[in-house]
Symmetry: C2
Subunit: 205 residues, 2 copies
C-alpha cells in the first residue's frame, strides 16, 4: 500500500504521479521492444535504472504496470476513432470512419509501431478492467451513431437499437480485438470497406 | 514413394486404401485424445500397434496424416451444413441455417467431441490444401444461396454478387475458422442469430 505524503511536492522530489508516468513510459518502451511475457520486474528495473523495490513502491505487480500501459493504448485508439468520426456530420460516414480508424489504430499499436501485442493479448484474455471499459466505450459510440442516423432519417428505426449495436459490434470485433486481429491481418485492407458497406445496407430505412 | 502392387488384393491382405483408412481412424482417435502437436509418428505407431516403418509406407509425414484427418473433418462440416440447408427451400432461411450449422459443427469437432483443435489450428495457420478447398466450398454455397434469393425476389440485386458473398463470408469467418473461433466461444450462442439478422437486413430488396 502506497502512503500519501504530507510534504509539499517540491521538498521531496517529483510527485508520485510523475514517477508513475516515468515508469510507465520506460516500461512501454521496454515491453514494446522485448515483449511483455518474458520481462520480469527485475529486468524492467535494471533497464530503467531504478531499484526493484522502488518500482514496487508505485506498482504492486508487473500486471499493474501492464494495465496502465494498456489503458493508455486503448485511450489512444479511442482518441483516434473519435477524431476520425468528428471529421464528418453524416452518420453513415461516421460509421465507416469509425470502423476504418479503429482497425488502423489497433494494427498500428499492437503490430507495427509499438508491438504491444503481448500486453493487449494478456489484457484481452484476462478481461482486464481497461478492456471492459474500452469495449463499453466502443459500443456506446456505436449506439450514438445509430441514434444520430435514426434521427436524421439515414438509418431504419424498426430494429431494437441495442440489438443492432450488438450485431455491428460483433462484425467489427475481429478487427478490434488483438487476439482475433492477429489472424485477420490478411483482411485489414479490404474488410473495413466491405463490412461497412454490408452494415450500411443493413441499416437502410 | 509407395509402389502399386500388381498382385490381386485378396492375395496380399487388406488393400492400401483400407490400411490408410485404418491409420487415419486410429490417428484421429489418438490426436483427439492426446493432441496433435506433441505426438510423434513413433508415439502414433506404438498406440496403433504398427511399426513406424509401416506407417511411413502409407504416409510420408505426420502432417500427411493430419491433412487427411483435417480433410475428413471439413467434409463432415460441409455435409452437416448442406443437410441443414436442404431442410428449407427459402433462401433467407437457408442462410440462417448455414450460419448456425457451420458454427455448431465447427464447435463440436474442434472443441467438444473430438478436440481436433490442434490439427485444425495447424491447418488454418499453414493454409493446408483442405482448408483452401473448404473455404472455397463455403463461399460457393454462399454465392448459390444469394443467387437463389435474388431469383426468388427475396434479396436485392444491385450489389455485385461476389462482393456481397465476400462480405458475408467475412461476417461468418470468426465462427468458421478455428483460430478465431477459440476467442469467440462466448458469442457462439447468440452471434449466429444476431449476425444472420443483420446480414438478412443488408440483403433486403
Amino acid at each position: 500500500m502506497k502512503k500519501t505524503s504530507t510534504y509539499p511536492v517540491s521538498a521531496r522530489g517529483p510527485a508520485d504521479h510523475e514517477v508513475r508516468d516515468q515508469i510507465v513510459a520506460a516500461a512501454t518502451e521496454h515491453f514494446s521492444r522485448y515483449g511483455y511475457e518474458k520481462t520480469t520486474v527485475s529486468d524492467l528495473a535494471k533497464a530503467i535504472g531504478f531499484s526493484k523495490a522502488y518500482i514496487y513502491k508505485f506498482f504492486e505487480s508487473k500486471q499493474a504496470i501492464g494495465e496502465m500501459i494498456c489503458a493508455n493504448c486503448l485511450r489512444q485508439i479511442e482518441a483516434e476513432v473519435s477524431a476520425a468520426m468528428a471529421e464528418t456530420d453524416l452518420a453513415p460516414e461516421k460509421l465507416r470512419r469509425m470502423f476504418k480508424a479503429a482497425t488502423e489504430a489497433s494494427l498500428k499499436l499492437f503490430f507495427q509501431d509499438r508491438k504491444l501485442y503481448e500486453i493487449a493479448a494478456s489484457a484481452a484474455t484476462e478481461n482486464w478492467q481497461a478492456v471492459v471499459a474500452y469495449e463499453g466505450h466502443i459500443q456506446k459510440l456505436l449506439q450514438d451513431v445509430l441514434q444520430e442516423g435514426r434521427q436524421s432519417g439515414d438509418f431504419e428505426r424498426k430494429t431494437p437499437l441495442d440489438e443492432t449495436a450488438k450485431a455491428i459490434y460483433l462484425v467489427m470485433r475481429p478487427y478490434l480485438n488483438p487476439l482475433l486481429l492477429q489472424y485477420s491481418l490478411d483482411y485489414t485492407e479490404e474488410a473495413p470497406m466491405h463490412l461497412s458497406n454490408l452494415v450500411l445496407r443493413s441499416l437502410s430505412p
